[in-house]
Amino acid sequence: MAKNILTEENFLRLHKTIQLNRGKKGALMPVLHEAQKIFGCIPLEVQKRISEELGVPLSEIYGVVTFYSQFTLEPRGEYVIGVCLGTACYVKNAQPILDKVAELTGASVGGTSPDGKFSLEATRCIGACGLAPVLTVNEDVYGRLVVGDVPGIVAKY
């Protein structure tokens, strides 16, 4: 990961959080909430550390993290790009646009770019069929796209 989240500083913060919660019954959830805040996600290395310091089996932690939708295994990007794959967009060549975004950002569909900047999602119809094909970057909407527009849009962020 280009943007390293697994820094010593972050682990130190995690350690302090765990120290603070260690005596508490049912400390796992509060610790996971903090871990999600500190690292932006709860990847394997972080879960292992929590497991060791809190004395909770890794399999249980993994089960808890994947159960609750607010905990994520991978960081979400700073910008979430949604390419609409609703029917209207799809027939107007949304797929090549999606492919182009993936190529330019390095984020796979449902994943995040190596630098942590972009997350890419193929969304259901966002109801802007008149503008098809459409993509959104966080709150911004771009419509009537051709593949050639994609580099310009990505470059803005």
Partner: protein, 348 residues
Amino acid sequence: MITLKINGLEVEAEEGSTILEAATKVGVKIPTFCHDPRLVPHGSCRICVVELEGGRNLPTACTTPVAEGMNIQTESKEVVETRREILDLILANHPLDCLTCEKSGRCTLQDLCFKYDVKETTHRGAKKCHPIDESNPFYYSDQNKCILCGKCVYVCSQLQGTNAIGFAERGFPTHIATPFNEGLAHSTCVSCGNCVSVCPVGALMPKSKEKFRYWETRTVRTTCSYCGVGCQMDLVVKENSVVGIDPVMAVPNDGLLCVKGKFAFNFINHPNRLKKPLVRKEGKLVEATWEEAYQVIADQINEIKTKDGADAIAGFSSARALTEENYLMQKLMRAVVGTNNVDHCARL
């Protein structure tokens, strides 16, 4: 004692016991997938639902405690319909490969579908799709066959204390997984195989060296010879060879085994197994007759004993020999040779 009625039959049951226990005691069979008397009741599979007079829903027999005056039907029309519906739902998300599935003949799902005449699923739609985890040398995990009864997870955490596997995700995508799906070989799994022993379907299966069907086998009760605990186990025997081992629900092991007891039986039929004695001649081990071998042993024991005394001799025997053989070996050392220098690999 509490009095209740099960299928019209008056039954006495201890306070705090479950409907399932009360029924079992009087020989009424209620089907289960997820129940295991050793585990904290969790009521996941719902196949053991029964009809309780005056009840709003169908309670599960495995979790509901008996109460005075209960009137219970275990195979009423509604119960049977519900069980059929549940089986239908399970089948909708289960490969129907009984023809080649190694669990066939000993699969609870197969047995219950037979019992309730569920031939196939009436549903179509999404099915789970997981890669088979073959990373463990002794058993494999095929989550596509898993019915999520949860027994493997709870046996691993509550009885074995290893916590190698757990539930991952939620809802329809829920599955049993090692952390980050990294595979059993990368988990804390100690290969005890207790999860394999409790799996009601073919999701967790021993890697078998030999093809066999359960109906071709018979079982032979024996005591595990690997260590001094004395675990009870059943050898699964096809023709004249051991093809599997099951733990027995008895003292002292209560249905559990370790990796050796559960899986380390392949030496029995192994082609490299010594069947004739070898005697070292000019630095090389050569096949000999039993008479010749005994002569060598007797001569050398006598020689050492005369020269250095009995305590210069020690006997070391193997866990892979029979318990009786081990007994005889130590008897020979103590009574005939005259030394207490005996040892055994299980002590290590």
